[in-house]
Symmetry: C2
Subunit: 326 residues, 2 copies
Amino acid sequence: MTAHYTIGIDLGGTNIKGGVLDASGTLVHRRSIETQAEHGFEHVFARLVRLVEDLIRGAGLAKSDVAAIGYGTPGPLSHKKGIVYASANLPGWKNIPLRERFSAATELPVTLDNDANVAAFGEFVAGAGRGVRDMVMLTLGTGIGGGVIVNGELVRGALENAAEIGHMIAVPDGRPCPCGQRGCLERYGSANAIAERLVEAVQAGEDSSLKVRLDAGETITSVQVAQAARAGDALALRIWDETCYYLAIGCVSLQHILNPARVVLAGGLIGAGQQLLGPVRDHFHRETWRLAEDFPQIELAALGSDAGVIGAATLARIEQRKESPH
Amino acid sequence: MTAHYTIGIDLGGTNIKGGVLDASGTLVHRRSIETQAEHGFEHVFARLVRLVEDLIRGAGLAKSDVAAIGYGTPGPLSHKKGIVYASANLPGWKNIPLRERFSAATELPVTLDNDANVAAFGEFVAGAGRGVRDMVMLTLGTGIGGGVIVNGELVRGALENAAEIGHMIAVPDGRPCPCGQRGCLERYGSANAIAERLVEAVQAGEDSSLKVRLDAGETITSVQVAQAARAGDALALRIWDETCYYLAIGCVSLQHILNPARVVLAGGLIGAGQQLLGPVRDHFHRETWRLAEDFPQIELAALGSDAGVIGAATLARIEQRKESPH
């Protein structure tokens, strides 16, 4: 008998999301629990194992119906070695042989990838990347993460560190980045960078409707900058538009390096919808070349928080097929 | 009986280079003839067909010893469709179904790719890319061309226009490029850009030992800028160093997008040798991040003008294997 289902797990600092995919790739069951990261690795690990059991039971399946588990988590980690070296917001996760441990505890094959890669792969197979073979995803949040798919396959890179799209250099000798570089794309195009740049401009003396909130000691977010821009605040409008410009410039570079059919924008910032997508597309078409019409379609991600679970499960299925091709 | 040899052809505006690879991938015979491009397509095509016959005879082979022909040429073209849409410096080459015509005339399977891709693939299999699976090549000449190899495979892109590395945006709103963009990497890092930027600076009133040549109506080349820099000319030194800086910035972006094991510099500019490689490496390590040691090795191309022939022949062999896997 062949096991037709795969399980996807998307571990974050706050929640662990899990889901069950059937043979057609449809998400037939999902469940989300708290991570409780503050209790350390063994506690979270026990929750992971229980979540898998609950998913199998909740979907009305037996363990023998499940072919594999795909697992996405913040890195750095090694897909090849199955080791999580460390995980942002997960204290105590240090050089964990997670594939081996998780596989032993669940008696199922486990595939491991970073959270940005599994989310990108989810959008690729079931969301904004459907129907194409070449896609780049930019996840616009605290920083900018990403995923690169070439000819249907996830690009992991020689040292398994590809798709760090946020650390492309957007501006030579530009804004310093905690990574040690200057001018990283994420210093101009992430949600955090929008808020930071507005605060800096106000502190430098520029006027904005958000100044009263700043003066009251409030933290400014990209959502507030977006709202202020919609309400006509000149500084917020300028910073929002510059953000879209730099994201478009990044898309032009990606176009010429990889010639993807689609560039997918994801992450918190896409809550702004057309306010983001419209100007990014406009700037892109103003800035890109005239030599060939090899433009990617620029789209918003479609799967929301299901992307990671679907991508992780699908990557696990692909890995299983590679290992038993017949 | 299996045909063990493949033929590689590298067509340029001035010369057509051809070579025969044995089953181990060794170039066992080579021959170069004039293109005579000014006589139009049919004339050049007849020369191509004759070159193949001469290569087979010159290597002491029969046609039945040859499995396939790989063919590299300036584009735009379609590998998938086997059509050359147009070719720089080749008048009369317009929407030519070259794969079909060449295959009919030689009675051998033909694989078609652009010249930058075949050269990059040649370096990948037999030159500066040996031993790795992920490589990017930057060909520094009139402009900047390139090739991207991911997990052992040439990246062609959704619309077969990947690896236009020279048109990554190096400087937002920067120097205008004939392609229609502003700030393209090739406006800062190509051989032509070096000469142009020096001439502009002198015309703007800066001093240089090359001013007397310019005043005498001579054309300044990147080779002269390199010489002047070695002789201590301050302006030439600054422009040469800036060039290396921008190339390094491009390498940082490529590092984070693709995480290649190697970045290979090729083209006329690498005639400068360590004068180019040293500062590019230095700037790269100064500019790249501190979060992970996922740095590519930056190397000079090793095969010179054989790269295209070797790459074309190897791509033809791979294509043949795909079509008859058993």
